[in-house]
């Protein structure tokens, strides 16, 4: 048996790629925007909601496009549900800003424009991180948060089937 002293470094055979796959839309399209903060209510009962818009082609999501309105406490609810039910390390939410809710501040507190913008960006990063996680994608709480009109806090936790 002749021993080759020069290693064969040629590429392995591979199937040519189907052109539809090569140039078609990718299967991993998922975009979630958190924007348009609106402060609702008067006086001490005010709160801010954000529009959460999702566009995707992932088959696990029932709707390929959805728009809902959510407030900070809704995000907190989602974080808690995921921490309890899913196996993932849930990313952090932007701060609760309790200090900003105290009276006698010089500024608008939690309705300060710069604060709302900071919070909006943090919430957007949070939801995108979770929705793209393979181990959190099938949680019912996430689907309800993103695609149902309102969150039913008495829902039955569980997984969504593909």
């Amino acid at each position: 048996m002749s021993e080759a002293t020069v290693a064969d470094t040629r590429r392995l055979n591979s199937k040519p790629q189907d052109l539809t796959d090569a140039y078609g839309p990718p299967s991993n399209f998922l975009e979630i925007d958190v924007y348009d903060p609106q402060t609702i209510g008067v006086g001490r009962n005010r709160f801010t909601t954000y529009e959460v818009r999702m566009r995707t082609n992932l088959p696990i999501f029932k709707l390929k496009e959805s728009v809902v309105r959510r407030r900070y406490s809704d995000f907190e609810w989602l974080k808690n549900e995921l921490e309890r039910d899913s196996k993932i390390v849930v990313p952090p939410l932007p701060g609760k800003a309790l200090k900003r809710q105290l009276p006698f501040r010089g500024d608008e507190g939690i309705f300060e424009e710069s604060f709302i913008e900071e919070r909006r960006a943090g919430l957007e990063q949070f939801i995108n991180r979770i929705a793209g996680h393979p181990l959190a994608q099938n949680e019912r709480c996430l689907h309800m948060f993103l695609q149902d009109e309102s969150i039913d806090r008495n829902y039955i936790p569980g997984k969504v089937r593909q």
Partner: protein, 331 residues
């Protein structure tokens, strides 16, 4: 040690007979430094001379015997006191008596079995050495000379490729292939990653070589992992149907052959770790063991000859440029 200048002491020097011709190799010491040592293979004879030089001329050296040993031992760092000797040969050089002048003794250990390769690791050391000892009443005089042993193999008869489909259901399916399961230390890993389903946003992909040193047995097994190499093979997001080639040259990395359960004391194994990283820095990986072996230095073809062989392979393939290169039929 001599008491207040009384008594005689001596210096020992061990010299091999083939010191001029025998090859030396670099070997890492425990503290990370590199030194050169004589290289021996299994079955080779170890022969030489022991030079005993008396320090104080004129004075006699009384002793209880002079001997030389050839030792192969395994030392576990957490258990320094116990040396596990797997080779232990002795030759007596002189019976108890006295030396009146410096003297040279010949020795030969014929066709010594050296079953394992020399290894200096994180938690264990396997070494071979000659030790000449002059036994005395209070304290012995001894000198050690380390040698390095390498174990050689020839091309394995069976060397199947590694091909597997792995993934996370409904999220990521890939098929990876490596051209062999056994690679020699200067070999090239040729492979490919084929994407069957990509529902996550991949940022890049790399292949790592991990060395795992295992010491201890039963409940006290300890694994020490060390990433020898990290090599990025893809930057960007792949889609279904894409094939990413792998070509990783092993000669650039400091590795040893795979060592399995050496004298039931330790193992050194190597793994290829394929790692995909997504946009959120999540890591998806698949580890696969490969066997490394040491090829003997046979007659090397000249550089131009090697270049010609390589060129023929590439030119001989399909003249039509296609996305997949056809492999030439081997002669």
């Amino acid at each position: 040690m001599s008491f207040f200048g009384f008594g005689q002491t001596a210096e020992i020097d061990i010299v091999l007979n083939d010191a001029e011709t025998r090859k030396k190799v670099e070997h890492k010491t425990e503290d990370g430094k590199k030194d050169k040592y004589f290289l021996f293979y299994d079955g080779e004879t170890v022969s030489g001379k022991v030079n005993v030089t008396l320090k104080t001329p004129g004075k006699r050296l009384e002793h209880y015997g002079i001997k030389i040993e050839f030792v192969g031992q395994i030392e576990l760092y957490y258990d320094r006191g116990n040396h596990h000797e797997f080779v232990s040969l002795v030759k007596d050089l002189a019976r108890p008596g006295e030396l009146s002048q410096s003297q040279t003794f010949d020795f030969e250990f014929t066709h010594v079995e050296k079953p394992y390769e020399s290894y200096t690791g994180q938690n264990v050391k396997l070494r071979y050495f000659l030790r000449a000892t002059i036994s005395r009443r209070l304290n012995d005089i001894s000198k050690e000379m380390d040698i390095v042993v390498q174990t050689l193999c020839t091309y394995p008869e069976i060397n199947s490729s590694i091909k597997m489909e792995v993934g996370i259901e409904d999220c990521l399916h890939i098929e990876f292939e490596y051209n062999k399961s056994k690679y020699h230390l200067r070999d090239v890993i040729v492979g490919k990653i084929y994407f069957l389903l990509v529902r996550i946003k991949i940022k890049h992909m790399e292949i790592d070589i991990i060395k795992r040193e295992t010491t201890g047995t039963g409940p006290s097994v300890y694994h020490e992992n060390d990433t020898i190499a990290k090599y990025e093979i893809m930057d960007g997001a792949p889609v279904r149907g894409e094939s990413i080639p792998i070509r990783l040259f092993l000669a650039g990395y400091e590795m040893t052959p795979t060592m399995r359960d050496i004298n039931k004391k330790f193992s050194v194994r190597y793994y290829l770790n394929l790692v995909l990283i997504d946009e959120e820095e999540r890591r998806y990986f698949k580890q696969q063991e490969i066997t490394l072996w040491r090829k003997g230095d046979i007659v090397r073809r000249s550089m131009s000859q090697q270049a010609t062989i390589a060129a023929q392979r590439y030119e001989g393939s399909n003249p039509e440029p296609t996305s997949a290169q056809a492999k030439e039929e081997t002669d």
